[in-house]
């Protein structure tokens, strides 16, 4: 018989970030966040909710209450596949998918995710590829992601990679957009400066 680990759990107000809810509600998609009636439709329709440590409904409750650490450290925000089922089914019309994106961005900004966790790493590699070439080079992005998170997995994935290559679905060379990404980078730089001036 396994031994129990007896542990008390109380959450005190001092441990919470009482502004967290307002911060997230002020981001894109969060405008109806405070209208959530905790009905659970989002969790019910989410195909990934059974794998999440906190269901989407709980994330919203916790965000409003100020459970800053638990929310940003959850696997929920990373397991969201952006399928928009929750957004479409929510009876309060909360743009839950956008809230998840906002939380992802918060987590990346504050570096709050396990080291070598593939999803933010994938996102960053994607970002870099687009900045450099104006395109997302699938093969290269995924390869870098694997190398940076679980390098030994590369051997396992080689089989698939080879098969793709043989079927002509993998480009080993980098693809660049016509005319190069210079103009694109200019635009993004402009956005960066404009954002600093504007309210978040």
């Amino acid at each position: 018989m396994a031994a129990w680990k007896i542990q008390g759990r109380v959450k005190h107000q001092e441990e919470l970030d009482l502004d967290f809810g307002k911060t997230i509600a002020s981001k894109s998609g969060g405008e109806n966040l405070y209208g959530c009636i905790q009905c659970g439709t989002c969790s019910s329709t989410c195909p990934l909710s059974i794998y999440m440590d906190y269901t989407p409904r709980k994330i919203i409750a916790m965000t409003r209450a100020g459970f800053h650490d638990e929310v940003l450290r959850s696997n929920t925000i990373w397991l969201c596949a952006s399928c928009y089922a929750c957004t479409v089914d929510c009876p309060r019309q909360i743009r839950i998918t956008d809230v998840m994106y906002a939380l992802k961005r918060e987590a990346i900004e504050h570096g709050v995710y396990p080291r070598r966790f593939p999803i933010p790493v994938l996102a960053k590699e994607f970002f870099k590829s687009v900045m450099k070439t104006g395109r997302s080079n699938e093969g290269l992005i995924v390869t870098w992601m694997i190398l940076k998170t679980a390098p030994l997995k590369l051997f396992k994935q080689m089989g698939l990679g080879l098969k793709l290559l043989l079927h002509g679905r993998l480009s080993v060379l980098e693809e660049h957009m016509d005319g190069g990404a210079e103009q694109l980078r200019k635009i993004l730089d402009h956005v960066e400066t404009a954002k600093k001036g504007a309210t978040p």
């Binding site: 894109s28 195909p47 990934l48 794998y51 990373w78 397991l79 596949a81 952006s82 399928c83 928009y84 089922a85 957004t87 479409v88 743009r95 998918t97 994106y101 992802k104 961005r105 990346i108 593939p118 999803i119 933010p120 994938l122 996102a123 994607f126 970002f127 590829s129 687009v130 104006g134 395109r135 997302s136 080079n137 699938e138 093969g139 995924v142 698939l160 098969k163 793709l164 079927h167 002509g168 679905r169 993998l170 480009s171 693809e175 957009m177 016509d178 005319g179 990404a181 103009q183 694109l184 200019k186 635009i187 993004l188 402009h190 956005v191 960066e192 404009a194 954002k195 504007a198 309210t199």
Partner: protein, 291 residues
């Protein structure tokens, strides 16, 4: 009517067959289609996780280019990739709804001489084939009716959610109707719009892979001998991991998964290589009618 065509990065990579078959089908249908010049990546889901405003700017550049290429005339931009399609629609909508965002985008694009008005009509090829051209026209081009083919039409998430622009959100039928017009049988199944796992099949496979596996199982259970898809990532997830699924879950899944435009090409009697059938990993010839 002239259309502009935005393939997106996947259609030049793992989804090459989608691009090839799409272009071949455009030709066969006598459509006036031109590829968008100088297009850049739409950012998909990953970019949005880093920076939302920049993600919109990324997409808006393509919209501005489309306007420019069409000489300022109202333009219909075809986007077969579901993620690109959703990105384009979402960016247009969010920019129109926020004065603040609009100013940043218009200024940033303006700084390199691009004009953004937000008047591009973003179209999915399914919409165009079924609603613009009409099923009669499609049926007329069919020289090899796909008898014996039982297709499970898989729409995925992003072409019906969150914007139900051309089909019903809960029970879309455009692809089903298209398949019937091609002479095939459209299998009725409940998971037409359930997520395939997206990028999770490669990053958190315990969760992502299982979603794709369930889709294949149900399609097979309902009698389908082919799954038709409208998204390069859906197609990749459903097709390319079948041996892994069989290994991990101890099963014998073997179901061809093709792009709906490939199915169209086959019914139109187009050459195998023209529609990229050779790129499919689960040979589609195992399906009758596609042989």
């Amino acid at each position: 009517m002239k259309y502009l065509y935005y393939p997106g990065c996947s259609l030049k990579g793992t989804g090459k067959a989608y691009d090839e078959s799409m272009v071949a089908v455009f030709q066969k249908l006598g459509m006036d289609v031109e590829e968008l010049q100088g297009w850049n990546c739409c950012g998909a889901t990953s970019y949005m996780s880093i920076d939302e405003t920049k993600a919109f700017a990324l997409i808006a550049r393509n919209l501005a280019l489309a306007e420019q290429q069409n000489g300022g005339e109202p333009v219909h931009l075809i986007s077969p990739c579901a993620a690109c399609y959703l990105g384009l629609c979402k960016a247009q909508k969010y920019i129109a709804e926020s004065e603040e965002l609009k100013t940043i985008i218009v200024d940033s694009l303006g700084s390199v001489g691009l004009k953004y008005t937000g008047n591009v009509k973003v179209r999915h090829p399914l919409d165009i084939f079924v609603n613009d051209l009409g099923l009669d026209k499609i049926a007329k081009c069919v020289s090899h009716p796909l008898k014996g083919l039982k297709v499970a039409s898989y729409y995925g998430c992003l072409i019906v959610r969150p914007y139900a622009t051309f089909d019903d959100q809960y029970n879309p039928m455009t692809m089903d109707k298209l398949m019937v017009a091609l002479g095939a049988e459209a299998v009725d199944w409940p998971l037409k719009t359930r997520c395939c796992g997206g990028t999770l099949t490669g990053t958190v496979e315990e969760a992502g892979l299982r979603l794709s596996y369930m889709l294949l199982k149900e399609a097979a259970k309902r009698g389908a001998n082919l799954v038709a898809t409208a998204c390069p990532l859906c197609q990749f997830n459903l097709e390319c991991y079948q041996s892994k699924m069989n290994h991990d879950y101890g099963d014998h899944v073997h179901l061809p998964v093709a792009f709906f435009s490939q199915v169209m090409g086959k019914a139109f009697g187009l050459d195998r290589r023209q529609i990229g059938l050779q790129r499919l990993m689960v040979p589609v010839e195992t399906s009758p009618a596609m042989a």
